[in-house]
């Protein structure tokens, strides 16, 4: 049983290597190097606009850009503003502000000839400045002696809080695919880790523009977006290839072949 599993693994490994070889060969056949465009990609956020249509309590917009440094690395940045009214059981408040994110993306996707898709892993440093307004609230009170129907409505008004800030690091998993020449559709999932957060005030503070929801006692948050991008091509550079590791377990295959005749059929190399 174990033998057959290992031999199956070897089979998979060998097909993998074969596939790799063919792409390498096609690259070698080109006597002239393949040129790829470099430039600034402008990313327009779609998800925030869609949320705006769906949700009356939300408005937001974001503009991003990335600049290609070499075959794999991109400089990336986003600038945005968001306003959201958060409705909880006993209170509701509006959080509003702007943010920027700066960092880099690594394109992990090996494109075929003429393709410019991206599967990127990236990181950002992000900073938001925002203000909060408590719209109205009830006092949380488990005793219902004086107000039997609901939590006690408050006659107090708390002043809005301005000048709040937060900074965080973000891990970004992103994809972009070229729809038409220089026009890309993309999306990203982001995990943020808060570095600093003004949270000692007598105010709810569970949503930061650009970061999304903040969980109490946790530094982590998650967000996503969809983007439509336009690449402004500036110059061209020849394509580079990663060095492929030599990976072919010749010894192992021979050993299996010698001991078990049933495995012979699996070995596509012989």
């Amino acid at each position: 049983m174990l033998r057959s599993i290992t031999s199956l693994l070897f089979l998979l490994a060998s097909t993998f290597v074969i596939a790799q070889e063919t792409t390498d060969n096609s690259a070698l056949k080109d006597s002239t190097a393949q040129m790829e465009s470099y430039g600034i990609k402008i990313n327009l956020d779609l998800s925030k606009k869609l949320l705006e249509l769906k949700n009356k309590d939300y408005s937001g917009s974001e503009l991003g850009a990335d600049f290609r440094l070499n075959q794999w690395w991109y400089l990336a940045a986003e600038l945005g503003k968001e306003t959201k009214t958060i409705v909880e059981d006993t209170y509701n408040y509006t959080s509003s502000g702007s943010y920027f994110k700066v960092g880099g993306d690594y394109n992990n996707y090996e494109n075929w000839y003429g393709m410019y898709s991206m599967i990127t892993f990236g990181m950002r440093f992000a900073h938001a400045s925002y203000a909060q307004t408590l719209n109205d609230f009830n006092f949380y009170n488990t005793d219902r002696y004086w107000n039997s129907e609901s939590f006690d409505p408050s006659r107090l008004n708390l002043n809005p809080i301005e000048g709040l800030s937060a900074s965080w690091l973000e891990l970004v998993l992103g994809i972009k695919t070229e729809l038409f020449a220089n026009i890309y559709l993309g999306g990203s999932v982001r995990i943020g880790m808060l570095l600093a957060h003004d949270n000692s005030l007598n105010y709810p503070n569970n949503w930061i523009p650009g970061f999304n929801n903040v969980t109490e006692d946790s530094k982590f948050g998650a967000s996503y977006n969809y983007t439509l991008s336009y690449l402004i091509p500036l110059f061209e550079k020849p394509r580079k290839y990663k060095k492929e590791k030599e990976f072919f377990p010749t010894d192992g295959v021979e050993e299996v072949d010698l001991n078990n005749n049933n495995n012979r059929g699996f070995n596509t190399r012989n």
Partner: protein, 167 residues
């Protein structure tokens, strides 16, 4: 490819962790009640139980009469203050009796006024009320209470006696 798969798993793993929020249940606290202690007017150090005490809020139909356990084996009572108003009024009946739904006895009307303060606790709780600058007015003829002393003029917790009533 395997690298991408493992990173995807990591990503969505972290996402699912993020969705487990405990922020939905309020466990951080509650609006505190006023703790009243009853003492002997002749011997101010010793607790004295007011016989058949019944307390009822002004314009209310529900009575409060249960004593609560205290640290010093005294006779203490927790009464809720109204966070929607600047004051709460209570009738205190001693030797109370209820006959055919009518409450009677030796009655005192206390009006407790305060400055409200909203204190943010957590996402699930939101705000609780704290009561500061307590003042107590006796509005009816003085029947059975000799003296009222405010021990602690801000109600931020229920652990200590805020008001001592001597009778």
């Amino acid at each position: 490819m395997r690298k991408i798969a493992s990173l995807l798993i990591l990503f969505f793993g972290l996402l699912s962790m993020n969705s487990c929020e405990k922020d939905d249940i309020c466990i951080a606290g509650d609006t505190p009640k006023l703790r009243i202690g009853f003492y002997d007017s002749n011997d101010t150090a010793s607790a004295k139980e007011p016989t058949d005490l019944v307390i009822i809020g002004k314009d209310k139909t529900t009575t409060l009469s249960k004593m609560v356990p205290s640290d010093n084996s005294g006779y203490e009572l927790l009464i809720p203050l109204n966070p929607s108003e600047d004051s709460s009024s209570y009738y205190l009946f001693k030797n109370a009796s209820i006959v055919d739904g009518v409450l009677s006895g030796e009655v005192e009307l206390l009006t407790i006024s305060y400055d409200l303060k909203a204190v943010y606790l957590s996402k699930a709780c939101g705000y609780i009320a704290n009561f500061e600058q307590l003042q107590i007015d006796r509005e009816l003829d003085q029947n059975w209470i000799q003296n009222i002393r405010i021990e602690n003029s801000s109600v931020t917790n229920e652990n200590e006696v805020h008001v001592k009533i001597y009778h």
